[in-house]
Amino acid sequence: MPMLEATGISKAFGGLAAVSKVDISVNEGEILGLIGPNGAGKTTLFNLISGAIQMDSGTAVFEGKRISGMKPYQICRLGIGRSFQAAKNFDGMPVHQNVLMGALFGKKGQSAANASKIVDEVLDFVNLNELRDKMVHDIPLASQKRLEVARALATRPKLLLLDEMMAGLNPSEVGEAMELVTKIRDSGITIIMIEHVMKAIMKICDRIVVLHHGAKIAEGAPQEIAANKTVIEVYLGEC
């Protein structure tokens, strides 16, 4: 049974079908890539899964529990963490406190001692320890994106949704980000990642889903997607 299984989920904004009848599932231990042109509905799909917005129809089931209809904080506590396309860090707090927030609130009844242990662990894990006392604005963009991931990791997720974490990074930073994603997976966390950086997607994803105008147009292993005619027409051709 897949870890997350969403069936027939749809969402329209006004007359525009941002996501229409999408089936998507992810198996434990997988890195699932989610690609598609701008406006394809990728972020909306994340918003639907994480409870930020409610779906018009369809269901999402996570580890056997129906999560459609739940609030974001409940979905987080069940074990789904996420990052945002435009980083939404707590800018008024230093780096370590951003992570502490995730640790404190991510699981119900987390003790303060435990939370600060998690902070140290996670900061080490994502390589932000040296910047721990800096304010968010004083660290580079790549680190800000890492910080968002760190905050999500501190909530102790089983499934992590990463929304364009590599956008705006230079090639060497992209390489580091890829390493981080693989390392997160190896630590036992399942991942769905939205990404435009094809090299990264093709290299680290086990499976890829392609969205176009809100609909799923293809799904398969990276080589299959790279060879898929429709995908090449609507998406890869545009790049």
Partner: protein, 322 residues
């Protein structure tokens, strides 16, 4: 874990505690005028502290304070002949808490300026309901309130200042306070790291309303007569905002200093030049906002930092906002 001892920050708590204790002795030598002025200052302090407790971290600017203070007024208006003052305060606080919780549950989904507009209208709405009630149901304008004596009112306000200070400091250091700050920093992010944002906001808003309701109840006993106009007064809604802007919102001392300066200024202007008091008051506010965007305390911190930087090159990141 969250808390580290910091001399400069902790000294301010000690100083404030000392001032509160000193105030306890004021009735022994102060004139009635001093006591009344002090009671007003303390009421303003409670209002600005409780307002900034919620609106400061979350960024939800409430203009509903007038409704909560007014409910406190009417709690005393209805019950002062039969209940002792602490009970009046409790009732005023609880009624305000309940209204804030209901209103909050409905309106705190509104973000930004929509929330502010709604709370602004709330004061007028409650006033209209009360006016309607008096005209149509009881056919009597306003209510008389029992006076418990200047000393009693003074001590009641002092107790509320102490309670509010404790509540503010405890919340600031608690998980709940961190959740409020998280919501202000990014509500989306907060909800996705497991913060129950609606409950946190509603509860924070209601606590701040409770405190305002209690001082409203005390205030009413200092007046002989109350009516909807004097109770559900927009002035009470704007005051906390202005005092916090004036004193500096993101600091512990800001709202306190802002409230004290404001009350004294208001008293002097009203007695010295009642005709043009609002004009001067307005002018001072505008100048304050233009030239001290971080409030009095902010200006002080800047000056101190400049002096420090002059002395040693090592500036460091001394976070003023805790």
């Amino acid at each position: 874990m969250i808390y580290k001892f910091n001399f400069r920050k902790d000294v301010q708590y000690i100083v404030v505690a000392a001032v509160v204790i000193f105030f306890a002795f004021v009735p022994l030598f102060g004139s009635t005028y001093t006591l009344t002025l002090s009671s007003t200052i303390m009421m303003y302090i409670v209002m600005s502290l409780s307002w900034s407790m919620f609106s400061g971290p979350t960024g939800y600017i409430s203009l509903a304070s007038g409704a909560f203070v007014g409910l406190g007024f009417y709690a005393s208006g209805f019950l002062s002949s039969s209940l002792p003052l602490p009970m009046l305060m409790l009732v005023g606080g609880l009624v305000s808490f309940a209204l804030a919780a209901i209103i909050g549950a409905v309106t705190l989904r509104l973000r930004g300026v929509y929330f502010t507009i709604f709370t602004f209208c709330l004061v007028e709405l409650v006033k209209a309901v009360m006016t309607w009630y008096e005209i149509m149901i009881v056919r009597k304008r306003g209510l008389n309130v029992r006076n418990f004596g200047t000393d009693t009112a003074f001590y009641a306000m002092l107790v509320m200042v102490a309670i509010t200070l404790i509540v503010v400091v405890v919340i600031k250091r608690s998980r709940f306070g961190m959740a409020l700050t998280g919501i202000g920093e990014s509500e989306d992010a907060a909800s996705h790291i497991g913060i129950h944002t609606t409950r946190t906001k509603v509860f924070g808003f209601a606590i701040s309303a409770f405190l305002m309701g209690t001082v409203g109840a005390v205030r009413a006993t200092m007046l002989h007569h109350i009516d909807p106009g004097s109770s559900f007064n927009m002035m009470f809604s704007f005051l906390p905002v202005l005092m916090c802007v004036f004193g500096g919102m993101k600091t512990f001392l800001g709202p306190i200093i802002g409230a004290a300066v404001f009350a004294i200024l208001q008293y002097n202007l009203i007695t010295e030049m009642p005709q043009i008091y609002m004009i001067i008051f307005g002018a001072i506010m505008i100048l304050a906002i233009l030239f001290m965007p971080t409030g009095i305390v902010g200006v002080y911190e800047r000056v101190i930092n400049r002096i420090k930087k002059g002395k040693s090159k090592k500036g460091g990141t001394d976070d003023a906002n805790a």
